[in-house]
């Protein structure tokens, strides 16, 4: 394999592995705020017990997120040096802002969240929990801004050897080293055409990851009749966020797709397997892209795609026939990942509705009732669904961006480090593979141990830090 393929595999692998963890901390962080907030409001020790248990889970997940996240910051430089020089003016500032505004906030207050129960009072602890959750959300803001600018560059122009050049310029290899994007307008970069839609969609998808982790563990306890009070209450918190998140992900997903149609027509054509530019463009709920015969197999809903992206069936949607073959992304992968994400998105809405209905009918009081038990059995593995959807969504976004690394300006193949050889990347890729395999096994092992151990027994004197008891009884 050549250095480009290996570098792409390595980046995809390291970023995909990392991305198991941040959505969990974003979603779980929000749930911790809800749980501890409920405790602040009601002083019911049950909520405090929940906050403590889920904080421990949070700590484990956060640790893995930190350990795997630092890799990515280095990897732009190690494997994509030409890209780094090309976009440093813009991408680098977003990363630096992420460090200053998000990571410091998260890690500073995380210390209080995890280790401060006995050191600070309940108000300051709750404040720390809120700041950790906020920091997790901020980190999404800056990295999504940076990535969205790659998808839909704005607020900047191209310079070769210090002279401005129009977009669409095809680089001579000799020019690459002194070409770069230069910022014109910071807010233009931040609010580039796709950043806000994609930010919203990514955040609610992250909420789903956290929500279904809680739903899944709670359902497991209920099926086993363990920690029933704790599990029922956790399940309800998880379901609230799951309901809100799954419906919002439908809305934000729709906005994102409409944005892709407007800004990245070749990506939309690949996502939907649309070969001909046409009004009344059809939508395939599922299918198979048959590139040899330039068609997409599977059922099609007439005009649905035109309607969805513009609100009008008469809207003409660009098909692959209007995109030069060398500017098309890999079609099958983009199509299938996109459809996988959509299918999972709808099943999560279904699960959330079902769970909410059971809750509304008071069915969680008896986990053994057949309807409830069936829901719980499905809820246990449901933790995997948002994870799969998150990965599939990002694979759609990033594979669909090909062949560009910066849309319309720089190709992925042009962004590599000139001096790094294939055998070096192979060595590091093997290293990452082995280390991450070990980490993942250990993570699952420890997560399972924590779940099996369960929350501490609910005795107020034991569950509350000594310095909080007087205040909570007062």
């Amino acid at each position: 394999m050549n250095v480009e393929t290996l570098s792409r595999i390595q980046f995809a692998f390291t970023v995909a592995f990392h991305y198991i963890f941040p959505p969990l901390t974003i979603g779980l962080g929000l749930l911790l705020v809800m749980m501890e907030g409920m405790w602040m409001a009601t002083r019911d020790p049950l909520y405090h017990n929940m906050a403590r248990f889920w904080t421990k889970m949070f700590g484990l997940i956060f640790g893995l997120g930190v350990a795997t996240g630092i890799v990515l910051e280095f990897e732009f430089g190690t494997n994509w040096a030409t890209y780094s020089r090309f976009v440093g003016d813009i991408f680098g500032s977003a990363l630096a802002a992420e460090g200053i505004f998000a990571f410091f906030l998260e890690s500073g207050f995380l210390a209080i969240l995890l280790f401060g129960w006995d050191k600070v009072g309940p108000r300051l602890h709750f404040f720390a929990t809120c700041m950790v959750a906020l920091g997790a959300h901020f980190s999404a803001v800056w990295i999504i801004v940076a990535n969205s600018w790659q998808q839909t560059p704005a607020g900047s122009h191209l310079e070769i050897a210090g002279k401005a050049v129009a977009p669409g310029h095809v680089f001579e290899a000799a020019d690459l080293w002194h070409s770069r994007m230069v910022i014109d307008d910071f807010w233009g970069v931040v609010f580039n055409p796709s950043s806000m839609d994609r930010l919203g969609h990514t955040l609610v998808a992250a909420w789903l990851a956290g929500a279904f982790l809680v739903v899944s563990v709670a359902a497991y306890y209920l099926l086993r009749r363990r920690h029933v009070g704790f599990a029922t209450a956790s399940l309800k918190f998880g379901l609230v966020l799951a309901m809100v998140g799954s419906l919002l992900s439908l809305v934000t997903g729709h906005d994102s797709a409409a944005g892709v149609a407007a800004n990245q027509p070749s990506k939309l054509a690949a996502m939907e397997g649309l070969w001909q530019t046409t009004a009344q463009a059809p939508l395939h709920p599922f299918g198979w892209v048959d590139s040899a015969n330039q068609r997409t197999l599977g059922p099609a809903v007439p005009a649905a795609l035109s309607l969805l992206v513009s609100g009008s069936a008469a809207h003409r949607v660009t098909g692959l026939d209007d995109i030069a073959p060398e500017l098309r992304p890999p079609l099958q992968a983009t199509f299938q990942f996109f459809h996988l994400m959509v299918v999972i998105g709808f099943s999560l809405i279904g699960l959330s509705l079902w769970g909410s209905w059971l809750w509304w009918r008071g069915k969680f009081a008896d986990p053994g009732a057949p309807a409830t038990a069936w829901f719980l059995r499905l809820a246990v593995p449901s933790v995997l669904l948002p994870q799969l959807a998150n990965q599939a969504g990002w694979f759609t976004a990033e594979i669909g961006r090909q062949p560009w690394i910066v849309w319309g300006y720089l190709r992925t193949s042009e962004g590599l480090s000139a001096v790094v050889k294939a055998n070096q990347v192979l060595a590091s890729l093997v290293g990452f593979g082995l280390i991450y395999l070990l980490l993942f096994a250990l993570f699952l092992f420890l997560l399972n141990r924590k779940i099996q151990h369960g929350p501490e027994p609910l005795e107020e004197s034991d569950a509350l830090p000594a310095n909080w008891i007087k205040q909570s009884r007062a």
Binding site: G59, L60, G63, L64, V66, A67, T68, I70, V71, E73, F74, F76, G77, T78, A81, T82, S84, R85, G88, D89, G92, S93, L95, A96, A97, G99, F101, F103, F104, L105, S107, G108, F109, A111, I112, L114, F115, G116, D118, K119, V120, W177, H178, V182, I183, D184, F186, S417, A418, V419, V420, Q424, A427, S428, G431, I435, L439, L442, L446, R449
Partner: protein, 338 residues
């Protein structure tokens, strides 16, 4: 002062912050195998427990600032030192998860292996950081486009290795002084017995490095010859290190730790003064060097970043100090501890 100079200083401050803060927890990692008792080892872990990942954020932010302000340096150094940085990443991953996982299970074999991982990760991270700095001081083979023109093995020359060893010694000394601040009783007495030998080891390593620098990399000292007033930095550095045994002897642990921090900041200041205005000094043709002017982002970006830093840094410092204050005092094991 122009924006390029300002950002040279800011990037320097961020990496100095990293050296001072993560320096002591990397040092604790190297020292972990110096004690055997499990409770005492847990006290070491928990001495850095609440702060180590915040400390690492200085590296992440320093890297981000380098990427943003001097993308050509970021690209050239990170791709040029490819295998070295990949090894550094592996080391940092290992020590992070070692801290996180180690005390989650009671088994002796489990803890023993994670302790070894913590030691190996921390020590090799310090070593690799030192080797990278040694190469930056020594000069790096660059072609006319500013691309790295050397090899991985070429980075492991004696001067760089000496700098690596010196960094390990520095972090061990700094770590032991931090541990002295955080421990009590017999464990503290044990730590105290390490401090003087570690100071002496560092002084030996640093003297050798300085001698080698004077002999083989005299350009690093040009600035001191041209601006004799800057020799004050050297004087202060020597005083700060000489002050360490004195403060420990007097039982002023905080003053000793601050003195150690100041010494590290002065070391970084000397490094920055010696390099200026180069960020990567090119061999064999110095004209190819990456400087704070030819390797920087546009002035617009530097201005925007200045605004971001002006807003962000005071906030960061406020809660960093707050967190350190909340967790000040001797480390105790509780049910939330590692």
């Amino acid at each position: 002062m122009d924006y390029n100079l300002l950002w040279f200083v800011v990037v320097g401050v961020l990496f100095s912050g990293y050296a001072v803060l993560d320096g002591f927890d990397l040092g604790v990692g190297t020292l972990i195998l110096g004690i055997q008792d499990d409770t005492e080892r847990r006290l070491f872990y928990n001495a850095i427990g609440p702060v180590w990942d915040g400390n690492e954020v200085w590296l992440v932010t320093g890297g981000g600032a380098l990427f943003a302000a001097f993308p050509a340096v970021y690209g050239t150094v990170f791709s040029g030192f490819y295998l070295a940085f990949i090894l550094l990443l592996f080391a940092l991953i290992f020590r992070a998860v070692a801290i996180e996982f180690r005390s989650k299970e009671p088994w002796a074999w489990w803890r023993r292996w994670w302790d070894r991982g913590f030691f190996a990760g921390s020590t090799s991270a310090a070593m690799l950081i030192g080797v990278a700095m040694g190469n930056i001081v020594w000069g790096v083979p660059l072609d006319a486009k500013g691309e790295f023109a050397g090899t991985f093995l070429g980075l492991l020359h004696p001067y760089a290795l000496l700098m690596g060893v010196t960094t390990v010694a520095l972090f061990m000394m700094h770590g032991s002084i931090y541990l002295h601040l955080k421990t009590e009783g017999t464990l503290q007495a044990r730590v105290r017995s390490w401090i003087n030998p570690l100071i002496i080891t560092f002084i030996i390593c640093y003297s050798l490095t300085t001698l080698a620098t004077l002999l083989y990399v005299p350009r690093m000292t040009l600035v001191l010859r041209e601006q004799p007033a800057l020799f004050a930095v050297v004087v202060l550095l020597v005083l700060a290190i000489a002050n360490l045994p004195r403060e420990i002897h007097r039982g002023r642990d905080w003053a000793a730790f601050l003195s150690s921090c100041v010494a590290m900041l002065l070391l970084m200041a000397l490094f920055g003064l010696g390099m200026f205005p180069n960020m990567v000094y090119a061999l064999p043709e110095p004209a190819h060097s990456l400087t704070i002017y030819n390797a920087s982002s546009s002035v617009t970006t530097l201005k925007i970043m200045t605004l971001i830093a002006a807003i962000g840094v005071p906030i960061v410092l406020t809660y960093t100090v707050t967190v350190y204050y909340i967790f000040h005092g001797k480390v105790k094991l509780g049910k939330d501890s590692y």
